[in-house]
Symmetry: C2
Subunit: 669 residues, 2 copies
């Protein structure tokens, strides 16, 4: 997960004999795409075509679907530009510039009298830097906090919001094997999806895009993954990991289990419920499986002992140098104390409404409207970070999204959240009593969702543009609920920022400095949903003493479906049954490599040493989940769709030669 401006050139050279030229790096960087729904992608043609995963595009597929046209289930196929359809609220960003501004950020805090004050000063400075750079460059500028506070970089993106859907296969093949096979290998998924970026109403004339490899990969071949890993906790101290294990994860898993069961129940009630809840359900199942894997790592004494030993070694090295000890020696205890402080209000801060968790889509709209009314009159750097001027375009994209809000699902989400509030804080808690207003959660949710006008985008716009006067005058019940939570929510957030975040930032900055001093400079920071480069080789592994081959093929797909009696989620879409004879069944389908990836990398391009596209990351195996907290190369594998399977299916199953020609740059058959 290396920074593109800090690649381990020595390691690459020594281990793989590969020298990354600046041109090679720039080409990869500017071909990579960050997708606002939480995934990665890449430009794969000069006409703005973007390839990503079906499960990254599924949010749009869901929003574009209706009871009549279920694109998520049945797929979508535009064979001409005119057939491509506009997405309601997606943002695609291409990283254009990186600048280290650590000195300026930390300098702004030099006169601060406390950690909390310093944290405040840094936050304001970061908003200023983003704003100035944005005005200067015209790019979307975002500060990135690296090494949990060890460095601050400014990333400038080209930002695109006119994005259209080009092609998605049926969910039955994209997510073949469903939840049971998720994070497993061997796999047989065509987890792909194509969008097109438009600029000024025309397909983007992309400066960079990845060429398609003619031959794919071979076993043991060096490959690279350029994507946006979302979050890791590898550099966390042991005390911080124990806090994750004993406080954060038990609550997080509980929330995932409960909502998964509730959405199952909701989906069972009717075919339409099933449709509108499908994407949410997948999201919860996916997170549940990922977090279960990480939690198993946290509960593994062997792994934690390894962490303890490494930490002791670093602390001993620091302690052995009086100057180091004076500068950095207190960092670990500070973090331990911060987590202890956090534990005293963690549950409250994790509660819906009262804390940082929402109560569904419409409540999110309400909270944003109430906050915008309050924040926008302030000077940009004095606002809550997410309402700074440079962030408003993204916020508005969501706020005014024409995506449908499904009343039944919205009621279910809100009832669930209100119930959870009571579960976490107890029925006599004043905030719970106020929020429920004398009713049980479901009836209260019905009252709120059926009573609000915020499903109407015009009403949202009226309130947003009307500012504080319009919002204060509005009697909408969801605005009232957002107002009811506002003061406590801000206070909890401030408490978190002052007592936890501020201390962590300073302490981790010290630990990063200690690491650089003791271990050298070639250390990558934890993932931050920003562009990173990973590398490794195409490589099988061994499980329970048996060898797992690196590639699957189409023949395996048909065999697996038969083995599971063609039962959902192993049921093959009709097209795949009909076109079986036309397919080259020995086509490489999915493959694994030991590239270091994590959630957020979904949709990342896999490229070869020439920078050509050879695969599409879509998953990790079950052994890879622990990568969140520690790297492991023995069994952990990244799972990709093979570029050859993509072309074969476009030509033989989907009858889309135009799209196949566009990505391969060749007319084929």
């Amino acid at each position: 997960m290396w920074l593109l401006n800090k690649l381990p050139r020595k390691l690459l050279k020594e281990t793989y004999g590969f020298a990354a030229s600046s041109e090679w790096v720039e080409h990869i960087q500017k071909s990579a795409v960050r997708i606002s729904s939480g995934g990665s992608g890449s430009l794969v043609s000069a006409k703005g075509l973007v390839m990503t995963n079906h499960h990254v595009g599924s949010d749009m597929l869901d929003k574009l679907s209706t009871a009549e046209h279920n694109y998520l289930e049945h797929g979508f196929f535009a064979r001409t530009l005119a057939e491509e359809i506009a997405c309601p609220d997606i943002e695609m960003d291409i990283l254009w510039s990186i600048e280290d501004v650590s000195a300026r950020v930390n300098g702004a805090a030099s006169a601060a009298k406390s950690s909390a004050e310093a944290n405040d000063a840094r936050r304001r400075e970061m908003t200023k830097i983003e704003q100035e750079a944005g005005e200067r460059t015209g790019l979307k500028c975002e500060m990135v906090t690296l090494y949990q506070g060890g460095a601050y970089h400014l990333y400038g993106y080209k930002r695109y919001t006119d994005v259209r859907l080009v092609m998605a296969p049926e969910k039955g093949i994209a997510f073949f094997g469903g939840d049971p096979d998720n994070f497993e290998f061997p796999r047989y998924d065509l987890d792909m999806c194509f969008f097109r970026i438009y600029a000024d109403g025309k397909p983007l004339a992309a400066e960079h895009h990845l060429d398609w490899s003619a031959d794919g990969t071979k076993a043991n071949e060096l490959v690279f993954v350029a994507g946006h890993p979302g979050r890791t906790e590898r550099l966390f101290t042991v005390a911080h990991l124990e806090f994750l294990r004993d406080v954060v994860y038990p609550l997080s898993l509980r929330g995932l289990w409960r909502r998964e069961v509730q959405l199952h129940t909701f989906s069972g009630r009717s075919e339409e419920n099933r449709r509108i809840a499908e994407n949410d359900l997948f999201g919860y199942q996916n997170s549940r499986k990922a977090r279960t894997g990480i939690y198993q790592g946290l509960q593994d004494q062997r792994l934690m002992d390894g962490k303890r030993a490494a930490e002791k070694k670093l602390r001993d090295a620091v302690a052995a140098n009086p100057e180091w000890q004076k500068q950095w020696g207190d960092a670990w205890q500070k973090i331990e104390a911060a987590e202890q402080a956090y534990a005293t209000f963690y549950t409250r801060y994790a509660s819906p409404g009262v804390g940082r968790v929402g109560l569904g889509t419409l409540f999110g709209v309400a909270r944003n409207l109430v906050r915008c009314a309050e924040e926008k009159p302030k000077e940009s750097s004095a606002r809550l970070r997410e309402y700074g001027d440079s962030r408003l375009p993204s916020l508005e994209l969501g706020l005014f999204s024409p995506a449908p809000v499904h009343t039944a699902l919205e009621i279910d989400s809100m009832a669930s959240a209100l119930q959870l509030l009571g579960e976490l804080l107890g029925g006599n808690d004043p905030s719970v009593v106020k929020a429920l207003d004398g009713l049980p959660p479901r009836l209260r949710a019905e009252q709120l969702v059926l009573g609000t006008k915020l499903a109407d985008v015009a009403e949202r716009r009226r309130l947003y543009e009307g500012g504080k006067a319009a919002v204060d005058a509005c009697k909408d019940p969801l605005l009232a609920l957002a107002r009811l939570f506002d003061a406590e929510n801000r206070a909890l957030r401030k408490r978190y920022e002052d007592q936890v975040e501020a201390v962590e930032r300073e302490a981790y900055a010290k630990i990063a400095a200690a690491q650089f001093a003791v271990l050298g400079d070639e250390i990558y920071p934890d993932a931050t949903f920003t562009l990173r480069l990973a590398f490794g080789t195409v490589k099988g592994y061994s499980e329970n003493g048996e060898a797992v081959a690196p590639y699957t093929d189409f023949a395996g797909l048909y065999a697996k479906s038969a083995e599971r009696k063609n039962r959902e989620p192993w049921e093959l879409p009709e097209r795949w049954v009909e076109k079986k004879a036309a397919l080259a069944l020995d086509t490489e389908y999915d493959f694994v490599s030991d590239c270091d990836i994590i959630g957020g990398n979904s949709g990342s391009p896999v490229v070869n040493a020439k920078g050509e596209l050879v695969g599409l990351i879509f998953d990790g195996n079950i052994q890879s989940l622990v990568l969140d907290i520690a790297y492991e190369g023995e069994q952990a594998r990244a799972v990709s769709v093979d570029s050859r399977a993509i072309v074969e299916s476009l030509r033989k199953v989907y009858d889309m030669p135009g799209l196949a020609d566009e990505i391969t740059g060749k007319t084929g058959s």
Copy 2:
């Protein structure tokens, strides 16, 4: 939920014009059957035939099934006595005698110096009473604590363990609509199952059994339900209900959600996993749905306000009488204090192993072996209650059960429990560290389950019969785990008994006395999984302003299946598709009545005023779930299979005229 020795004769007479003769009551009582797997049933022929629900019999169906013969899925049909198959570990009890022994139980505690001491004395006395009565009568004698401590009755049962399976329909029709339709109405389930009790190797010549009604019921007809409601909390104080709401239910629901998701995951892995986990999964889903309904009641301020008002009225009446106030006035505060004390260790006591929750089947065996070795040398009344002499036959039935133990499921259960232990107590807790022994939960579970010999019944018998010497000498890893938890588990239990149970018993005895004094004698105690009589009428209800008719019919079954595209769980078994033409489609299928039932009543007979069988309870509607904490007659309904549908399906679908003739006492077609 009236006691059979304390029926509200006045209410019955005045409301329904019905006079219950002693003969009528005795006949109903001795035709009712309590089933050890947690349900009710009734004798329906003079040859020991017992009718209950499919979902009550499913535990046996599961244990009798193999990968080749899946009786749970495909049904079981014995057309001769010789084809009936013996159940491994079921117990059927028929209530034969009831005696009020409150004076003796409380008398034993009269010299006690503290609540804890009194509780201890009562417990010992109860064991003595059971033992003496058992020796005197030859019945299985059990003490029943009523009104949470307001009265103590001794119940004597005829106990049968030679029970054979006679008939079960396919799960697809017994549980048509599956989890989504569970607790819903209109319903279309044939949730029935037939067993036969044998005595001395021959079908039991039953002294009493229910005659089959020739005509079933009509709307508004008076009906009775004789069954074993499991547990209610209607007489709980407000403080006690708040403790349920804020402490007990959040943890209980969390456990249900988590295990449901885990079992779903487990089931997805293979067809065989699906089979072996099916019954467990149903159990979790069923509890989850029931508890969700109860919790919604607890979170309903309107319901809680009603409870508060009723409690205030009672307390005011007590306070107005100085003698009453002196005797009973402190009861409510005592309970509040007891729950506050309980809250401080509730989570720990609810943890697997450390607390009262187990870690799967084999751990249960291990714990029993370790405990028996310790307890059996003691005098019976000095043992932990469940190891008293009169309880040992039931314990041995389970301990030496030949039912299969599925290794894969056992590992999954234990891994889940070990993980939960860490979730609840934190990874650094000494008991957690010892239990995991350096491994993550799944690997530790594999080590334990693959390492133990306790799946072998002969080994269990050797250890049980070898007593303390054999158990102490045995190095089995599961015995070691049970030993590891033993001391803390006993200490927690003692703490619960002394600080919570003892106080509750005394305080609720006072509240019961106050209720009798203020409100009169016609109050039934909360449910205790003992025989109760409920009554009401066959009656539809209104939901969201629409009328719900009291009966469904077979035509509705076929319509519903078509509406849900014949998709699981609305898929019809083949037989039902084939035999459609032969069926009278207007046969009454399922019906609702406003009888007061709760979990444990499943399988109860519904009888008419003549004492004839007209239906088979199998569920309540969603509005009935709140009955756990408060009775509500407007919408809450009990759901039954109509006796006419049972006969029609036996004759027309299952080709079992012999069984139909046996229950109806008529040769039919």
